[in-house]
Symmetry: C2
């Protein structure tokens, strides 16, 4: 099958932005501090430097505004690690501000990835919904190597949430790969993870929500979910497995079977992340597409009015949203 | 909402049978040996004895043909354990022979549950497809406490498969609950597990298949899947979580949202297991029901002929199959 529709080559351009949290190993405090003061523009990020970091066997993390695609290999010691690509497309109405998703990529251990999705309802209270998710990911970045976190994703959520002072709320998912191949995941809300092996999805997280379109969320308010509400799972990964993490903007607009098709079709993690984000973006704007979101809406009792139903119509369409995609492929550290 | 349609009271009767593997703690070898020689009829199984076993704080396992519903509490030490109910309805054409599913319930650790589904295609080769699945579960029962298994579900699959000499093949899922609440799962094929918490599914296994309706399977033949192909996951359970394990006869015929509804509606694990099996059975016979199976078939390109399509028709219907359901609720050993 042709992959042309999904997998255009190139790094992408335009005004799309996102907040990524990555930084050089060993400079946690200063760079976390910088995050809220001075986010560098996309163009300053040179992914080739990541590769050189890897080649010199140093773990790395950076703090910066994200490039469109961040291909890299994280991790350095014996065992497995993740080769990671990422891509973000903000909600069409939020392009200038970069959207309200934030994400984290770290090379600590076998690799740490996380996505937070700021809850947009805060805009009605004149609060920028991006502030909470960005600070949450910045704090998580500072704490990845924290002793009390102990390389436990639920602990990371607990400490990052406690350290976040911005007003707002966010869904969040954190995944930490151990060198022995065990991927540990903590998830609050409707961000998600898929693991693909030999052309099929072998693991999925499940979304948590109070009711349709109202996910569990970490918040500045005392009445919210906490790390205690996280679903904590592990999955044993194998070399060449692919991990796809995303905000609900991905999973509400792209079926698992299409994720499989794209992963099978693309030649790199960066290309796959971009292709997935583009497909989600295209579906999100397509009012006739019978998306995972519209199918779930109908299953929960939402649909077109009765007079449209008797004309054979039904509720369809994607969901306009910020879209964040992280694609990680499991590699042997020794062979890379 | 009324639960009358789903949750009839009573223990059930009739000719439906299944093979369950449970036995008194400490009598592994003799009872595993009996399994292939002398399967007792359903009516000999007295679930009240299970409760008395629990009350005396003894772990237990039995080998026998299954009753319609097996309510019990397994496990005895500090920490959490599973209160378990089970229910089996064979394929309508296989009622007399008890179907080709087999299952295991053990009180070792926090509780061990497993389902194997014999691959029916072996009947074309004059092989009884039930033999392999039954022996596999019998062997697993014998090996639950094996030192080399080390309370690891993939190891249990490995050793049980190696010990199975019957001709045939089967899908299999094994879940072992640790006292600290960690449920470890190994899955080969399209049996499955759901974990429900506070009225929603927070964890699902994913089916593995070569192509539509041809699942990964353990086999007597050298060209088959092995323990190495198992997807291995863990999920941290909380008290009052509900674990639903089943053969594909359950998950092909019942959507997750209906599993949630039934679990929320029923007053006991035995009642829930029976209600789920009954709903799956009813759906499996309903040619107009747009089941998970028919939806997946259409998604994979199977549908009615074009001339029916232009008349607005589509492929629908449940899937006639053996149906095995195990429902476990997480309880504190100390509080029970």
């Amino acid at each position: 099958m042709s992959v042309a529709n999904y997998c255009e080559q190139g790094s992408g351009s335009g005004t799309d932005m996102a907040t990524a949290v990555m930084r050089p190993f060993g400079s946690s405090n200063s760079i976390a501090h910088n995050l809220n003061k001075n986010l560098h523009p996309i163009s300053t990020f040179d992914s080739s430097k990541l590769n050189s970091f890897y080649k010199t066997k140093r773990r790395f993390r950076f703090v910066c505004s994200a490039p469109q695609s961040v291909p890299n290999l994280v991790g350095s010691e014996e065992g497995v690690c993740l080769s990671i690509g990422s891509h973000v497309i903000p909600h069409p109405d939020k392009v200038e501000k970069g959207g309200e998703d934030a994400f984290l990529v770290s090379g600590y251990g076998g690799g740490v990835i996380a996505v937070a999705d700021g809850v947009s309802g805060w805009a009605e209270k004149d609060v920028n919904p991006a502030l909470f998710s960005r600070e949450l990911m910045a704090n998580a970045s500072s704490l990845v190597e924290d002793e009390e976190v102990n390389y436990d994703p639920r602990n990371l959520i607990r400490k990052a949430h406690a350290a976040t002072s911005s007003i707002g709320s966010a869904t969040a998912v954190v995944a930490m790969l151990e060198r022995n191949g065990i991927l540990k995941i903590a998830n609050v809300g409707d961000c998600g993870v898929r693991v693909l092996r030999k052309g099929q999805v072998v693991f999925s997280t499940s979304a948590q929500e109070h009711y349709f379109d109202c996910p569990y969320q970490l918040s500045s308010e005392p009445i919210s979910q906490t790390f205690l509400d996280a679903t904590v799972t592990t999955v044993e990964l194998m070399e060449e497995d692919t991990v796809v993490m995303g905000s609900d903007g991905l999973f509400d607009n792209v079926f698992d079977r299409d994720i499989v098709f794209i992963i099978n079709s693309c030649n790199s993690v960066a290309e796959a992340a971009k292709a997935l984000a583009n497909l989600a973006h295209n579906h999100s704007k397509d009012s006739s597409f019978d998306s995972p979101y519209s199918q779930e809406a109908r299953a929960q009792g939402f649909d077109v009015p009765w007079w449209k139903k008797i004309m054979g119509m039904k509720l369809t369409g994607g969901k306009l949203d910020d879209i964040t995609v992280i694609v990680g492929q499991v590699k042997s550290s020794l062979s890379s």
